[in-house]
């Protein structure tokens, strides 16, 4: 498989109101394969959102290169049309669903992207219906967005991106403002988009539980890549994560705590039930050993 997104020594900085220079993204070189589900973790101000906004040219990098599907975004002869084509291919869903919805009717909003692309009316109709079907919001097609729940609104926002038929979707803390139910709805939708429709997913989050569902986890710190690997590889390095000011999944934290008491449990179990079974087993064994 080929890399859909590739960055080389990417840097971006901005100035604060007190004229202090902040290096938000510092020398980031990564490759993301087509069809991968990547979670990007990091403390507030670690540069993860800035990094995402560089990928579809909402922000222009200071130095370094970005390649989307082999095409260099940062080359000087890139045209405005190329940038819009990249934005179509790399869709982006943001944190606050209210601030992404443009129209007063759900289906009109989903149609907004394809309308901008100049797609013929009947083709837009088909795409809108498909997109709403994919996120399970078909019933609400004629509803007003402000009467929907947070999770539903966010799914409408996702449908608006799907209707543009992107190859990759970036979720910029899209679950952060939702209640647990809404978060589950959105996470299930994201996972389905990746597994069933083969979309490349970049999921920026600070919920560890969500990151465990990804194929790959990238941890950012001070604008650079701090850790990069599978969830199992990353979350077993508990001390390093704590060092970066991050939490670990609750199951891992629990088993890590037991290990410090002298047990030897694996840290890479992220589901509650297997974790409970394994722990109970180990505790019983410890008790029988110490009788």
């Amino acid at each position: 498989m080929s890399a859909i997104i590739k960055t080389e020594h990417l840097c971006y900085s901005y100035h604060t109101e007190e004229n202090k220079k902040v290096q938000a993204v510092n020398d980031v070189s990564i490759e993301i394969e087509e069809g991968q589900f990547v979670a990007i973790l990091g403390h507030n101000g670690s540069g993860k959102s800035t990094f995402a906004k560089l990928l579809n040219m909402i922000l222009t990098p200071e130095s370094g290169k970005i390649f989307i599907d082999g095409k260099e975004l940062t080359s000087p002869d890139i045209t405005e049309d190329d940038i819009y084509d990249i934005r179509r291919q790399i869709g982006m869903v943001f944190q606050n669903p209210d601030n992404q919805i443009v129209a007063t009717i759900v289906e009109e909003d989903v149609a907004f992207g394809p309308e901008n692309l100049g797609i013929p009316s009947d083709e837009i109709r088909k795409r809108v219906d498909n997109a709403l079907e994919t996120v399970g919001m078909k019933k609400y097609a004629r509803h007003a967005p402000h009467k929907l729940s947070g999770g539903q609104k966010q799914r409408v926002a996702i449908a608006g991106i799907i209707a543009m038929m992107p190859r990759c979707i970036i979720f910029d803390e899209s679950t952060a403002m939702l209640d647990p139910l809404g978060r589950r709805e959105v996470m299930d939708t994201i996972e389905r988009l990746n597994r069933k429709d083969g979309k490349t997913v970049l999921h920026i989050t600070h919920y560890m539980g969500e990151a465990t569902r990804a194929d790959r986890v990238i941890v950012m710190r001070h604008g650079s890549v701090y850790m990069d690997g599978t969830p199992k590889e990353i979350f077993t390095r508990v001390d390093e994560l704590w060092e970066a000011g991050l939490e670990v999944p609750q199951t891992t934290e629990f088993m890590h705590g037991l290990n410090e008491l002298g047990l030897s449990l694996p840290l890479d179990i992220f589901e509650t039930e297997p974790c409970a079974e394994k722990s109970a087993e180990a505790i019983l064994k410890w008790i029988s050993d110490h009788k």
Partner: protein
């Protein structure tokens, strides 16, 4: 605070008027207003009243809602009537007391003016505001004004602004409510005192509201850019407005009405209005 905010005065329904093309409705309203000002004698005014009653019946909007909408107009109606009755001079003197002279022409003109204004309001609200969603209205307006795009008039931008404004009204009302509660929880006194005091009490509500509105605008513009928005050029629409036979009939009715009224003005006897 009620969160179920109805935007504008739209009244849900499925009548012929509700279903008509918004562009046709806009044109029809202009036609109807012209017709209203064409009417000059008793018979043509009678026809106007009939047409207004017909509109109300066809639209199936409860008469209660329409009378409620008329209330703010009462003062203007009374004022126009008084002005016409006391100031207009004519041939037939009806009442005389000191310097007050009331002529038949004055009374008739007053009656006609009241009918005119009332029908004007009923006409525009039944054809447009009560039966058309704001979004359909902006859509219709944009497509009707499309020829003006050639003159560099920002027709698309204007309708986009209207759409976004309408979209954010409920969101901002909800937000105002939240901020008010937050300020009340901090001991802000909002509802009491004189006008100056109450205006001052609004400041801690308006400032956070404005800041948040700016932030929203910023985020919305980024989200729109991510969805490839680049102005009206090269943009298509999902739901194209299509003219149906019924729409032509709808607009045609008003032209026929106008023709009838002109004929009545010329041939029918009865009191003729000077203007």
């Amino acid at each position: 605070m009620a969160l179920d905010i109805s935007i504008g005065q739209y009244f849900e329904g499925s009548s012929v008027i509700h279903k008509a093309d918004p562009r046709v409705k806009l044109i029809s309203v202009i036609l109807y207003i012209t017709v209203i000002f064409l009417a000059k004698n008793m018979f043509s005014f009678a026809l106007l009243i009939l047409s207004a009653i017909a509109l109300i019946i066809i639209s199936r909007i409860p008469i209660k809602i329409i009378t409620k909408g008329m209330k703010p107009l009462i003062l203007i109606l009374v004022f126009t009537a008084i002005l016409n009755i006391f100031w207009l001079q004519g041939d037939t003197l009806v009442f005389e007391f000191g310097i007050i002279h009331i002529y038949l022409e004055g009374i008739m003109t007053a009656i006609f003016m009241i009918i005119r204004i009332t029908i004007l309001l009923i006409g525009t609200s039944v054809i447009l505001t009560y039966t058309t969603t704001p979004i359909a209205l902006t859509d219709g307006l944009e497509q009707l004004l499309e020829p003006l795009k050639k003159t560099k008039l920002p027709v698309h931008e204007f309708s986009m602004m209207m759409t976004i404004a309408l979209r954010f009204i409920p969101t901002l009302i909800e937000e105002t409510d939240k901020i008010m509660n937050a300020q009340k929880a901090r001991g802000a006194d909002i509802g009491s005192g004189g006008i100056m005091q109450r205006a001052k009490a609004l400041i801690p509500i308006l400032i956070p509201l404005f800041i948040s509105a700016f932030r929203r605008a910023d985020e919305l513009s980024t989200a729109m850019e991510c969805r490839c928005y680049r102005g009206g050029e090269g943009r298509t629409r999902m739901s194209k407005l299509k003219l149906r036979a019924g729409d032509v009939v709808f607009a045609g009715t008003f032209i026929v009405l106008g023709a009838l009224i002109i004929i009545i003005n010329i041939y029918a006897p009865g009191f003729n209005l000077a203007y």
